[in-house]
Amino acid sequence: MTVVSGSIAAFAGCLIACYLIDLRLYKHPLSSLRTSTVIILGFLCWLLTLLFAELVVSTEFIANTSSPLIAFNLSESAKWLGISASMTLSLRTLAHRTSYGAVIEILFVATAFVITLAAHRNGMIHRPFFIGDFALTRGIDPSAILMAFGCGTVLALSALLIAENNQKRLPYHFAVLGMLCFSLLVYVRLFGIPTPQTTDDLGLTGQEQNGSNSRRDNPFRDGENENNDKEAPVAIVVFRDDYEPLNGSYYFRESAYSEFNGVMLDFTTQDEMDRDLIEHFTNSREESEQLPGAEEERKAVRTSIGMLVPHRSPFGLESPIAYENTANPNNLRFKRTYDTYSLAPEYDFEYLIGQETGREDWSDEIWQEYLTIPDDARYKTLAEELITNLRPEYADDPFAKAWAIKTYLDENGIYSLKNEHAYEGDPAGSFLFGDLTGYCMHFSFAATYLFRSIGIPARVGIGYSVPASNRAGGSALLIQAIHGHAWPEVYFKDIGWVIIDPAPQQTLVDMTTDPQDSLQQLLGDMLRNDASFEEFLGSQQSSFVQLQTILSILYTLTALVLITAYLIKLYRLWIPSFASNENQYRLCYRAVLDRLSAVGLSRDFGESREGFADRASNTAPSIRPITDTHLAIALGSTNHTAQDQQEWTLLGQSARKEINSNTVAWRKISAVLNPFSWLLTK
């Protein structure tokens, strides 16, 4: 947020303010100032330093006499010195002078930690690396470790701050803070860490910056410089379930262009579109918001993917429905490893005949978005011309129409990596109505525009397409740079997005690659082989107990302790209603004491019961007679007969009413929530 000089000044400001307050607050002249005066003085100091900082940079005196750099540094120092000193001054004064000051201070420190650590969310920064790598090789979310650190720090700092004021109640405060930290952990465990919505100051968006093309680039231009390393391995896929695609290619979808931005199709900016896509990586498990239909025609396939080069988004075998982060067996080799759960299509194209397009829950706007094309009437003309030859029984069938368009492109298109249309206003139009020579981007855009022009909702899927033969019978499949692909997709009702990929019969480039079976097998083994993975883990792990197991045990234990504590609490309150008359004096009295300790009144160590009763009689006046009766029976001679249950119930009820009417609301709430209040009863 600031330069080095500013940071040093901020630190110095804190020290000065701490020195001032901690050592001088109780001496003249600070001791004679009111709390509000001190805070206002701090605020004025801040304003003064701000003014000074502004003055230094806006006037040219210092810049001229020495250098602009010195002026800037001076201004930054002054500004941050003022901010830190005034903040510390106010907080320390409040902590010294008021009871709630310490709480505010703790909150402030905790917030500072949260802000600092928030940048690490979702693995945006894996620094410090020794923590990030340690966690990722074990399949643990590094943010959990960072959060544990944060909680620990907050607890330790709070302990220090509270100890200053009141050592007696320290364990109690500490337990409450511990509970808060624990509930934070549970929350994250149950609901995950929220994804940051906007770019923060550090330029982090939750997505990796390097890797494939960024959003603004023209997708038609990316072929320009890609030719040199087309065989470079990109990722390795290990099939955990057997699956053989019907059309001879494995499609891995990473993202899709679906929204027409005025020039061409682009990533959608609307929440309602492309809800089936999972656009960011996760450290745990991420599921698609919209599942494809026709499940009986699909096969659930689990694949493990190890990325060899960084990607912006995860990709998975079509149609991916969930991604799960997995332990990285070799973090030198793989950038990321995750499992993909896919519902891979097993239907024949005949199944698609007669199906309707679109989705029932699409609004009219969404429908419109999926049908928008460039303002060019030739698309519609061409598309209609192509479907006129359909047999009458298929004349109204969307799939038949789409197939006719695909066939046209198959027969007439020429595949080439030459890129002559990239700088046209509409590269797809230039390709389609020109020489029909281009690569996958041209074909997919042209097909999508043609589909859309006759009312078929379509988009361009992007990802990888690998010939099924590359798998060579093994369970591993190597994805290479050349397999990067784009294809048109059509949405069929109750089925989902269906790939209708034009395959030009004439091609000017050799798209085949040398079989890399040994590399494929090696990488596959590395990703899959559990034995070597275990070995690797053994070499990396010093502790032989899994952190995850310890955490799970810890969660369970804590939950058990909480539940038990609540049960005991309830038991102790209710048992007087069921106990015999002889035990009423003990149990009913204890229940009343429990109620009192829940609202913060409990007997001190060594204090007599009568002394406590006197102290508590402001809250519950009837505690005094209750105590006397209890003691008469407990300590008195045998001629004290036990009272019957009814009378005791009456006494207990009167005490309860008094406590209720003499306690503030937040105390009452904490009395109900605190599971350990009965532990304070003595």
Partner: protein, 346 residues
């Protein structure tokens, strides 16, 4: 607020205490009469009056440590006047005597002396000032150890011996001794073992402003008042002593707490010499009276908290450099008292 509930609860408690014996109630009446009578004469000293009455009923003696003119004689006299002889047979016993101790006092001046009667040609014992219900031994530290020990024998044994003849003192023999905490020149301070004979050592502080004003306002009226106040008889007091001893119960947990406190004190490094076992024995009846004064027929932690500092204060010798006796006592009481409180749950 919830006055209904409180009233309800209190009603229940009174119903519970109805069972306690009527005899105890009678005894408590005697105590309260004594208390109110003395309170009318001595203003602003309610706590001291209560302690003195506890000591009287518990058959102990008290040592008052205070400044001249702070009302100790008035207190002793008021107490003596509140107890009338009643049906006593022995005419030699009077309600109240005061002895001013001086360095030249002889033991016979205190106990009495046989004098030769020329008429009957025989020695007759002339009773000394000890033959009374209430004896005020003023400035006991000013007299020689010889007289002090004669005095202390009388206190311990309730008898005096002169010329090998032993004369019994009254059953209700109660000594209020005083000493001046300052002005120690020419005194014979009582050693710790002798202090052990006193149940309480009460350090009186100056009474508060309102009470002092009250004293000045009403001193004339109070002088006239004597003679019209309620009194109790010696026998009633003795009867009350017996009743309280039998009717107020002491739970074993109370005794455990007392023993534990003593043991803790003896083990404490800050304590040079702990309290005697006798002090605990003497404490038990005092606890019973304290409980009775609070309308209880059982001894409770409250009684211990009130009486322990008074009983143990002069029996403990602190190590050199340690001055805060109250803190030492409280530190050593905390654990046994906690156990006592906890024992009511089991």
């Amino acid at each position: 607020m919830n006055s209904d509930n409180v009233a309800e609860a209190q009603e229940l408690t009174t119903a519970m205490s109805e069972n306690s014996s009527a005899a105890l109630a009678e005894a408590v009446d005697v105590l309260n009469t004594l208390k109110s009578t003395v309170q009318q004469q001595v203003l602003g000293r309610d706590d001291v009056i209560e302690l003195v009455i506890i000591a009287l009923i518990a058959d102990g003696h008290v040592l008052l440590e205070d400044f001249p003119g702070s009302g100790k004689t008035t207190l002793a006299k008021a107490l003596g006047e509140a107890i009338i002889i009643g049906s006593s047979i022995d005419e030699s016993i009077v309600p109240f005597r005061r002895i001013q101790f001086t360095p030249d006092l002889l033991p016979s001046d205190v106990t009495g002396v046989p004098v030769f009667d020329s008429n009957s040609n025989a020695f007759h014992f002339r009773h000394g000032p000890l033959f009374a219900h209430i004896v005020l031994a003023d400035e006991i530290n000013r007299t020689s150890p010889k007289v002090q020990s004669a005095m202390l024998e009388a206190m311990g044994e309730k008898q005096v011996t002169t010329d090998n003849v032993t004369y019994s003192l009254d059953e209700l023999f109660f000594v209020i001794a005083t000493q001046n905490p300052l002005d120690l020149v020419g005194t014979y301070p009582l050693p710790t073992p002798q202090l052990d004979r006193f149940l309480f050592k009460i350090t009186m502080e100056h009474i508060n402003r309102d009470a002092e004003l009250d004293v000045l306002e009403t001193y004339k009226n109070r002088r006239d008042l004597s003679g019209q106040l309620n009194t109790v008889t010696r026998d009633e007091v003795l009867h009350a002593r017996q009743t309280i001893d039998t009717e107020v119960s002491i739970n074993p947990a109370i005794k455990t707490a007392l023993v534990d406190i003593s043991r803790n004190l003896r083990e404490d490094d800050r304590v040079l010499q702990g309290n005697s076992t006798r002090s605990m024995v003497l404490l038990l009846p005092a606890l019973q009276v304290s409980a009775a004064l609070r309308d209880r027929d059982y001894v409770s932690a409250e009684d211990i908290e009130i009486l322990i500092p008074r009983v143990l204060g002069h029996r403990i010798e602190l190590a050199p450099g340690v001055s805060d006796l109250q803190k030492v006592l409280l530190d050593n009481m905390r654990k046994p008292m906690e156990q006592l409180a906890k024992s009511t749950f089991s």
